[in-house]
Symmetry: C2
DNA sequence: TGTTAAGCGGAGGCCGCCTCCGTATCTTCG
DNA sequence: CGAAGATACGGAGGCGGCCTCCGCTTAACA
């Protein structure tokens, strides 16, 4: 009555219910069994036929995206909050660390991030845009404050973050990821870059111009 | 006559030949089609049965390792050479950049590296040890010269490297990887870390102690 | 309650992984 | 050289996952 702009039928109750069931099952299965769990297993767990699963989520990726949408949104909102922090570099660091925790908690999260990062899959739009924007806002502030080098774009950072978390099923991966991210953030500071290679920073327009952004 | 310590039979000629054929075919197929090409395709290209392939290389990983052994060795030797360079930090940077080129040239190289990095697969020994040692030697020199922070171990660096290259089939990945690696190396410098978070460096024994190394 | 279209589900085709074993081929030794 | 025995070959076949397709079911609407 309220959100039906067209004179379309009301969606069938069983369809809605099944969609929800599949999502729930997928969440359980992915978080437990990692990202390459079989979709048949998800369907079985949801108590629906494999055909139903595929109708609601035509691709594996679509299912991932749906399952981890909420998490991506949370990360995005966290960035929003951190924008008000005093130290912009520290804010970015904090966000990245939170990202590590997210990955640690939800085993399937990496698959969702992979989706966002790899951009091959046509409809990676949602997560990519959300996360890129989140990072971008933190990055911009740090750059504007003159605390960070300007030749790294949000996509780069997202990819680096993903890369550092890549080994997320190694024993000590979490500590490793945090250490690596610290190093990376340190490297992002303007002072670091200037000390290391003064010329690289001196003419910032040159190297950057060649990228797509 | 020379390399047979036991009184074992001479290996059969056809076996040797087939092994070589499979390796050759695998190289072609992996470099072209990426890392998840079907092993049946490799067998067909080599003109051998699938059974033969599996006898020589019981797992997909074993085949990867065999195919990219030479490349890993080259990278390792490059590190050896770079040890004589003047600036140890620059030497490390150079090595990492060379790594990117390797990945760019041989498409299947990433799979071999994944194998080395992930340590799950029992026999990842060779590549892992080789690359870890290579990085370690470069790292140690830089640390000894007081130019780099001491709380990053070779495994960490290898993983970071791998992570930065992860998106190796994106359009502009190479430039991205190089940029990210630059940032990372800058972050490794002692000055960067001290400027950023003086206390983290002041007592180096604390945080590091908890790792396995 | 009847009509109708949206939705269900699983059989089945395809493909890749991997094993197993009957057959072919090579090495060795007399 | 020829026979015997060891070694390797190769592909059929079982398994399991991916995905599609279509006859049947069932909810929505009048």
């Amino acid at each position: 009555m309220d959100d039906q702009t067209d004179q379309t039928r009301k969606p069938r109750a069983d369809a809605v219910r099944n969609r929800e069931r599949v999502l729930e099952a997928a969440k359980l299965v992915f978080n437990a069994g990692g990202s390459e769990a079989s979709l048949e297993a998800v369907a079985k767990r949801a108590g629906v036929g494999i055909g139903t699963l595929y109708r609601h989520f035509p691709t594996r990726e679509a299912l991932f995206e749906a399952v981890y949408r909420r998490e991506v949104e949370q990360l995005s909102e966290l960035a929003e909050q951190l924008k008000n922090a005093k130290d912009p570099v520290e804010a970015l660091r904090r966000w990245l660390r939170s990202g590590v925790e997210f990955v640690a908690t939800k085993k399937g999260m990496m698959a969702a991030l992979a989706l966002a990062v790899q951009s091959g899959s046509e409809l990676h739009a949602f997560s990519f845009e959300r996360l890129t924007k989140a990072i971008g806002s933190l990055l911009d502030r740090a750059v504007a404050a003159g605390e960070m080098r300007a030749d790294i774009n949000p996509e780069d950072l997202l990819r680096a973050f993903f890369g550092m978390c890549y080994v997320h099923d190694q024993p000590g991966w979490q500590a490793t990821a945090l250490r690596l991210l610290d190093v990376f953030v340190d490297g992002l500071r303007v002072q670091a870059a200037m000390k290391a290679r003064p010329r690289a920073i001196a003419k910032p327009g040159k190297k950057v111009a060649k990228q797509k952004r």
